[in-house]
């Protein structure tokens, strides 16, 4: 492995049409992932034909409104979806192994490499366990011997800025939210994973604590050359941590590419809408919403053609009839839109941006 501090950024392009930045070094390959939940009345497709790669040491941000399927993707990767009520198709390859075809024993071995951090850290801990045992649990399950467990738990706690003496004899509810999330990170780290799915890891925390937890994550990522899938509805947070970003809408990836490209020149109207929704600290910047704000349509009966067309300011006839495929945009990323934008994001100070009236600086 080369220097772990540099996240891999492959050259854009050069792979199949629907997948962004497929590299030989891809740690995780998700192809055409579709997840259907059976409900009492009919079924709901939470994820429809999603494909992406994650390279070693890379952070992929997964953004979208709640209910767009981001959490489902995270859980599908770790095979955590309820087996009775959900059906998964497509393939999820980790290190060349198709996870869907693994036995539960084989999956247990892979789980050392794939870990997860949940949104609400406290509810992700068994309330009747002590913190030290919670961090050690994965190692116990994986059959690691006692001395090694103690060593690795100590190392994992140290990585998140805690120590065994701090957690000694204590239960999760005796710690603050930020501390709990760091304990959750330590629990995932103890197994020595290559990839951690972070499902809204800071959404339940105070803003001041959010930054701290994100810093901890970033440091560990660099130190251990970890790949992260960072699921969040908060674009500002995702921007800070991600090498690449995938924007999801109603179970599909509508835009995916290098974070810099997507944030600077978003191609999909939905991405623009999300970026406009990010609060601006500069009150002199006036934004005109480009989108018709409406409710998300029903998941069980998605609109024909482009799923975003019911909320899209650019929607035309073709959007109803033809579903746009993910295509390479001139600015670098992939987007699924018939009428992609090419100019910089509105309101963002950028070279030659004409869209800011009354800026007297």
């Amino acid at each position: 492995m080369d220097a772990p501090t540099t996240p891999l950024r492959g050259p854009a392009g050069g792979s199949g049409p629907a997948v962004d930045d497929a590299r030989d070094a891809a740690l995780l390959k998700v192809r055409d992932l579709t997840v259907t939940f059976r409900r009492r009345k009919g079924s709901v497709q939470a994820v429809s034909g999603v494909s992406f790669d994650v390279a070693r040491g890379e952070t992929l941000g997964l953004v979208g409104e709640s209910g767009c399927g981001k959490t489902t993707i995270g859980r599908a990767i770790l095979r955590l979806l309820p087996q009775g009520t959900s059906a998964t198709s497509g393939s999820i390859e980790y290190g060349g192994q198709d996870l869907g075809s693994l036995s539960s024993g084989g999956m247990r071995v892979v789980r050392r490499h794939l870990q997860m951090i949940f949104q609400d850290p406290l509810s992700s801990f068994n309330p009747r366990r002590k913190v030290w045992d919670i961090v050690a649990e994965g190692l116990v399950i994986q059959g690691v011997d006692k001395q090694e467990i103690a060593r690795r738990v100590d190392a994992a706690l140290a990585d998140v800025g805690m120590s065994a003496s701090m957690v000694e004899g204590r239960r999760p509810h005796q710690f603050s939210g930020g501390q709990c999330q760091r304990i959750a990170i330590a629990r995932a780290l103890a197994l020595g994973p290559d990839l951690i799915v972070c499902d809204e890891p800071v959404a339940s925390l105070d803003v001041s604590v959010q930054a701290h937890v994100i810093n901890v994550l970033q440091e560990i990522r660099e130190k251990r050359n970890l790949a992260l899938i960072f699921i969040s509805h908060d674009l500002a947070v995702v921007r800070n941590v991600s090498d690449r970003v995938a924007v999801m809408y109603m179970g599909k990836i509508v835009e995916i590419g290098e974070a810099d490209h997507v944030y600077a020149r978003p191609a999909h109207p939905y991405t623009r809408m999300l970026l406009e929704a990010v609060p601006m600290p500069d009150a002199s910047v006036k934004l005109k919403p480009t989108s018709v704000d409406r409710e998300m349509p029903s998941q069980s009966n998605p609109p024909s053609g482009c799923r975003f067309r019911t909320r899209c300011p650019l929607a035309a006839r073709i959007c109803t009839d033809v579903e746009p495929p993910l295509r390479r945009m001139p600015q670098g990323q992939l987007a699924a839109c018939h009428f992609p934008y090419d100019e910089p994001a509105p309101g963002r100070p950028g070279p030659g941006d004409p869209g800011i009236p009354g800026d007297a600086s």
């Binding site: 997860m116 801990f125 603050s176 674009l235 941590v241 970026l275 100070p349």
Partner: protein, 307 residues
């Protein structure tokens, strides 16, 4: 970039945040009181049950206490200030105090063993039903609903008619009939636990189904179960009392509360005091068990609120 809501700085994790975790109020309360936040009825209930259990277990060693079948005084003697005649003597001159305590031994151990049968099978079935749902759940539901739709005393009478009256038959019959209730309650509790993140997190760490059920979910069922076991045991004591009252319970001359009540009804007109001993025992035991159950349920709410 101006758009970010968060400023990510490069401070290390060690420098920020004080590192002393907050102490929960629970920890403080535990050191002070055996029964935190218990009111007077709760103290009474725990105290009464403790005394009753002690009395039942140690009945053989209580100084001066006669054996239950020994004639110690006049037929239907009135209460007097001796150990054996505190509640009077029954129609055969036997000590009511002694018979109540030895009866407690029978009643409590039947309730205990029957509960053990119901719990072990019921919790097992309920956990499978709640965890796997689907066909397993439907089968367990069918079984539980069938049991629930049968009047327990009639079923037990039928079993006794087939197998003969004995403490063993009664215990087994009541134990089997209780399985459905425990299965249903456990199932509900498991369903509410199985969807929680900590179960998902344990699965993500590689835990097998057996481990998830036994190590993760089962310990979290304990609070729910401690709240429902006492009232269900109270029900068993009433059922056993009714059976003995009807003459199909504990075969005489062995002492039992229901049998004592039945025996004193004949003489109720002339010696109304006779009935007080056993009735008081049943009423107070049932009341105490229910009160203890309520207290446990309150404790769960408090604990859940603290999480």
């Amino acid at each position: 970039m101006s758009g970010s809501g968060i400023q990510v700085d490069r401070r290390g994790p060690q420098v920020s945040q004080p590192t002393t975790p907050a102490r929960g109020p629970e920890a403080v309360a535990k050191g002070r009181s055996l029964l935190p936040e218990a009111d007077a009825p709760t103290w009474f209930a725990f105290g009464f049950l403790a005394l009753l259990i002690l009395g039942a277990v140690l009945a053989d060693w209580i100084p001066g206490l006669a054996k239950p079948n020994l004639e110690v005084g006049a037929f239907s003697g009135p209460p007097a200030l001796t150990v054996n005649q505190l509640f009077g003597t029954d129609a055969l001159g036997r000590s009511i105090v002694s018979r109540v305590l030895y009866g407690a031994r029978t009643s409590l151990s039947i309730a205990l063993f029957a509960s053990a049968i119901s719990m072990s099978a019921g919790i097992f079935l309920g956990m499978l039903a709640g965890f796997y749902r689907g066909v397993v759940e439907r089968l367990v539901d069918l079984y539980a609903n069938t049991l629930a739709s049968l009047p327990p005393v009639l079923v037990i009478l039928a079993l006794i008619a087939a197998a003969g009256t004995s403490v063993f038959t009664i215990t087994l019959a009541m134990g089997l009939l209780g399985i459905g209730t425990y299965a249903r309650i456990t199932k509900g509790a498991v369903i509410s636990q199985a969807g929680r993140d900590y179960v998902l997190a344990a699965r993500a760490l590689g835990a097998s189904d057996v481990r998830l059920l036994a190590r993760e979910i089962l310990p979290n069922l304990v609070p729910t179960l401690t709240a429902i076991v006492p009232p269900l045991m109270a029900g068993l004591i009433v059922t056993e009392g009714s059976l003995s009252f009807l003459g199909y319970g504990i075969p005489p001359p062995a002492p039992s509360w229901g049998g004592m009540i039945a025996g004193s009804t004949d003489l109720l007109n002339r010696f109304p005091l006779l009935i007080f001993g056993p009735i008081l025992a049943i009423v107070l035991t049932v009341y105490s068990l229910n009160t203890v159950g309520d207290y446990m349920a309150r404790r769960i709410d408090i604990r859940e609120g603290q999480l």
